[in-house]
């Protein structure tokens, strides 16, 4: 009997320990509770205070001493004696604060999220592999490692990250590892490549080729010109250099391409958000108070925690640079040094094509190209899945790129396949661009640095203490014939392929224009006299004009003016559409709430400010109107893309009788007038319902609800709602889920470069750290921090702690 008791008690104890030592999934994932709750090693150990102890660490691979001072924002100021140590220290300190995020993002890029969260992520992972993300990162890695400078940078950065990873015991692991019960794997150079390709994925993968092919078949060419023109003629391109493009452009044998004539029933991949975009501008000394240029940049990306950016100051002989870095990539990406400053916005350009592949037979081992059967390459991709058996996917590669869609993925016909051609698949050495920009002294250095830049194509703004300002749209751009790239292409003929690229010195650019400023906001790149055909999924049409208007009017500009301008909430889209919309509304049959909304809207100053109620009514109205206008597209059985907001408003105003405005489902014949009226009723109803649900007045910040979401599907416990104005199409482009992910203003005074910045998050990626969200409220209220940009270690003030890295003697 006693032995039964003993056995039972022992079994319970062991079973309990076993149960509590591993994670489970009972509908909801459960962390390993024993490990997780243990206050000696579990989550409790991730709770931190502001104060940090000074540390001295011996690191192998370091050649000399490195000093890192954390200032009061936990920004590391890294002082090294050579480049190798500098990038090792950057890797080390970035990993110390952002390790989980760095690895998670590269796992996401590589299609490996199923390993962490299970089968729910398998479709996402397959998409990533079928886009050729790893293929792209490998190509990029090859060219990085082919250059001795880039190789040394990446090697040391990787070593720094790994030194940190090796130093970790369970109790030091970032919280998310404990929650999901896994551990970091060694960092590799490939992961740096993956991280950069992840940016290319966010920024340069926009395409609507399948959708446009369907639109061509359904509506014909005239409708395409009307709804989706190549250039919406918005005015205010990035570079207006009319008549001054003095070069001999590369030309192709301009045989017109045969346009496709078919309907494609494939379900396209989920599109990246169209609201990612950015602003940048630089004003010359002639317009500023100090007489020195001021540069400003705010990239609009998904607002996540841990933040996508990590601010760092890197100092070594020959380099003294500060600004926003991407955790997972060495160097500073958007920043300044003691001579120059630069910033980026996304260049809208079609850098994606789909080639229709004709396979010889079901084996898909050969495909047609110029009358011959070419051998295809097969890659077997293994997907490890948490809690299930691995999944295998065979991906066929043609010389165009991976065959993304086939009968096993989003397609329905085993012989109708589409191969994916993407600029980010090409070898590239962006890291060298940033290496050189970080050390740049003048405009020539900036130009040279950009020659190494391939993708994702960006509008690089520039300003220097010597007084120059400049803008250059840099990327590797195929030379295209008219309409090329808008529709799916015939993959059986090499004549349809990208045959030449625009030489770097023929890219869109200029320096010191007469108007005294340069700016970009994802709009159409240039004037009509630029000799190359340009097409993209969409262009921005409002922020650009607002920015240019403000900058034209301003003089005696101070850095504060520029910071305030980043927070500009003027809604140009509303200013251009609301008067017409209001005139379309039939006011005779109004209910009380409708009359009230109409009155509020009529008195609106077009500011999407935090308190504005009119902004809520306008946006609710617009959000109801847009799908009503394009019901033909929304309800289409095949994939179609929507025209832009700009084009929609233009048509509503100028062609109110357009056949598209008729709602197909109703017997009546609607025009713009009826649609706008119906949308108004719906919009008001939406706001009224919201008021009842939330028991609040519809102030814009509440109605919009800006949510800064943790990378793990916005875990509420680690995410925040903040009060913030703005919206898409507004300079302060915060639309609730994406927006200004980094705001920077740099005054390039000869005596001293001064800089300010902020981002919606904090320097620590640890939800248990006071620095996890320490800049969030400053960002939300529209303030900036002045950065400590000192060339000497002992001048950094309010240091909260210091790390001294010393070479370990072997």
């Amino acid at each position: 009997m006693k032995f039964v008791k003993i056995g039972l008690s022992l079994v319970i104890t062991v079973a309990l320990v076993y149960f509590l030592n591993r994670s489970w999934n009972f509908g909801k994932p459960i962390p390993p509770l024993g490990k997780f709750l243990d206050p000696f090693g579990g989550f409790w150990q991730n709770a931190e205070v502001k104060e940090r102890e000074n540390e001295t660490l011996l690191l192998e691979g370091l050649t000399d001493e490195v000093i890192i001072h954390y200032d009061s924002l936990l920004i590391p100021h890294v002082f090294a004696n050579n480049d190798e140590d500098l990038y090792l220290a950057q890797g080390y300190v970035t990993a110390k604060n952002r390790l989980w995020q760095m690895e998670f993002q590269t796992h996401a890029a590589a299609g490996r999220i199923s390993e962490i969260i299970g089968a729910a992520a398998l479709d996402y992972d397959r998409t990533q592999r079928r886009r050729g993300m790893v293929f792209a990162a490998e190509n990029s890695l090859k060219s990085m490692e082919g250059d001795p400078v880039a190789k040394a940078m990446v090697d040391n950065y990787t070593r720094g990250i790994n030194l940190h990873i090796e130093s970790l015991s369970y109790k030091d692991l970032p919280l998310e590892y404990k929650l999901l019960n896994y551990s970091p794997e060694p960092w590799t150079n490939l992961k740096c490549g993956l991280l950069l390709k992840n940016m290319a994925l966010t920024l340069n993968i926009g395409d609507k080729d399948l959708e446009m092919t369907n639109a061509l078949k359904l509506f014909g060419k005239d409708v395409i010109e009307l709804l989706w023109p190549d250039d919406e003629v918005v005015t205010d391109p990035i570079v207006d250099n009319t008549g001054n493009w003095k070069f001999e452009p590369v030309t192709l044998d301009s045989l017109p391409l045969a346009l496709p004539d078919e309907l494609i029933t494939i379900t396209p991949l989920e599109k990246p958000s169209k609201d990612v975009g950015s602003n940048n501008w630089a004003v010359s000394g002639s317009k500023t108070h100090t007489g020195s240029p001021i540069l400003s940049n705010d990239p609009h990306l998904n607002l996540t925690l841990p933040s996508i950016w990590y601010v760092i100051h890197l100092q070594a002989p020959g380099v003294n640079v500060m600004g926003a870095s991407l955790p997972g990539s060495p160097a500073v990406i958007s920043g300044f040094n003691d001579s120059i400053a630069w910033g980026v916005t996304n260049a809208q350009r079609d850098l994606v094509d789909w080639f229709k592949i004709e396979f010889k037979d079901k084996s898909k081992s050969e495909y047609m190209s110029d009358g011959q059967w070419k051998a295809a390459r097969k890659m077997i991709e293994k997907f490890s899945i948490k809690g299930s058996d691995p999944f295998y996917d065979t991906i066929t590669y043609t010389h165009h790129g991976p065959v993304t869609f086939d009968e096993s993925f989003h397609g329905d016909n085993e012989l109708k396949s589409y191969a994916f051609r993407w600029i980010a698949h090409d070898p590239s050495e962006e890291i060298l661009t940033f290496y050189k920009l970080n050390r740049g002294k003048n405009h020539d250095d900036y130009m040279e640095a950009l020659n190494h830049y391939t993708s994702p194509a960006q509008n690089f703004v520039f300003a220097s203490t010597s007084g120059d300002i400049a803008m250059r749209i840099q990327g590797k751009f195929p030379v295209r014939r008219k309409d090329e790239g808008k529709y799916v292409l015939d993959g059986t003929k090499t004549a349809t392929e990208w045959q030449a690229y625009i030489p770097n010195d023929q890219n869109v650019m200029y320096k010191n224009p007469a108007r005294g400023f340069v700016s970009s906001a994802n709009q159409y790149p240039t004037d009509p006299t630029y000799p190359y055909y340009i097409t993209a999924t969409s262009y921005e049409a409002y922020r650009n004009r607002r920015i240019n208007k403000l900058l034209t009017e301003m003089s005696d500009i101070t850095p504060r003016d520029m910071m305030e301008m980043q927070l500009d909430n003027f809604n140009l889209k509303a200013a251009e559409s609301l008067p017409a919309f209001l005139s379309y509304v039939d006011t005779t049959t109004f209910s009380q709430p409708q009359r009230n909304a109409y009155r509020i809207l009529s008195a609106w100053d077009y500011e999407n400010s935090i308190e504005s109620e009119a902004a809520s009514y306008y946006e609710a109205w617009w959000d109801s109107l847009f799908p009503l206008v394009w019901d033909e597209i929304k309800n289409s059985k095949v994939a179609l893309d929507y025209p832009t907001a700009y084009q929609t408003i233009k048509l509503l105003k100028e062609k109110p009788e357009l056949s598209f405005f008729d709602i197909v489902e109703t017997p009546e014949k609607e025009t713009a007038r009826e649609l706008v009226h119906q949308a108004f009723i719906k919009g008001v109803e939406k706001v009224e319902t919201w008021k009842i649900e939330k028991k609040k007045e519809p102030h814009w910040a509440d109605y919009k609800d800006t949510f800064i979401a943790h990378l793990l599907q916005g875990l509420p416990a680690f995410s925040y709602h903040v009060q913030h104005g703005g919206n898409h199409d507004i300079v302060n482009a915060s639309n609730g889920r994406s927006g200004p992910s980094w705001r920077m203003v740099v005054s390039l005074e000869k005596t001293k470069v001064r800089a300010w910045g902020v981002y919606p998050g904090g320097q620590s990626g640890n939800p248990g750290s006071p620095f996890y969200n320490s800049m969030l409220n400053t960002w939300a209220t529209g303030e900036h921090y002045q950065f400590q940009f000192e060339p000497e270690a002992n001048k950094i003030k309010s240091v909260i702690s210091s790390i001294t890295l010393k070479p370990a003697t072997k």
Partner: protein, 109 residues
């Protein structure tokens, strides 16, 4: 008296073990102390439960006070029950059953 000895012994031994080793070594500690002290089954279970619970809660409260509850609040939103309660139950149960096993084995003849 033996109850108090087992309780204090569990706290001290488990504290030392957990300062260096994984969380589950606490079960080995509680087991060993219970075996050596030799309480009867039920009191042994209770002493082990309370001992580990005090140790875990004490440490948790210490961290929580030091860090102004910065993480506790977030974990409370993440877990279906309060983080302190969860910590107490999990630590206590393992400590209790390990101690019970220790006491039963000593008492086997």
């Amino acid at each position: 008296m033996k109850f108090i000895i087992q309780l204090l012994g569990t706290i001290v031994v488990c504290f030392v073990l957990q300062s260096f080793l994984p969380w589950w070594t606490m079960a080995v500690g509680a087991f060993t102390v219970a075996y050596l002290v030799g309480n009867k089954g039920f009191p042994a279970f209770v002493a082990g439960f309370i001992g580990v619970a005090i140790l875990w809660l004490g440490m948790a409260f210490y961290i929580d006070a030091l860090t102004h509850s910065i993480l506790t609040e977030k974990i409370n939103r993440l877990l279906p029950l309060n983080a302190f309660v969860a910590t107490l139950i999990v630590g206590g149960l393992v400590g209790g059953f390990a101690s019970l096993t220790g006491s039963l084995i000593r008492d086997r003849r």
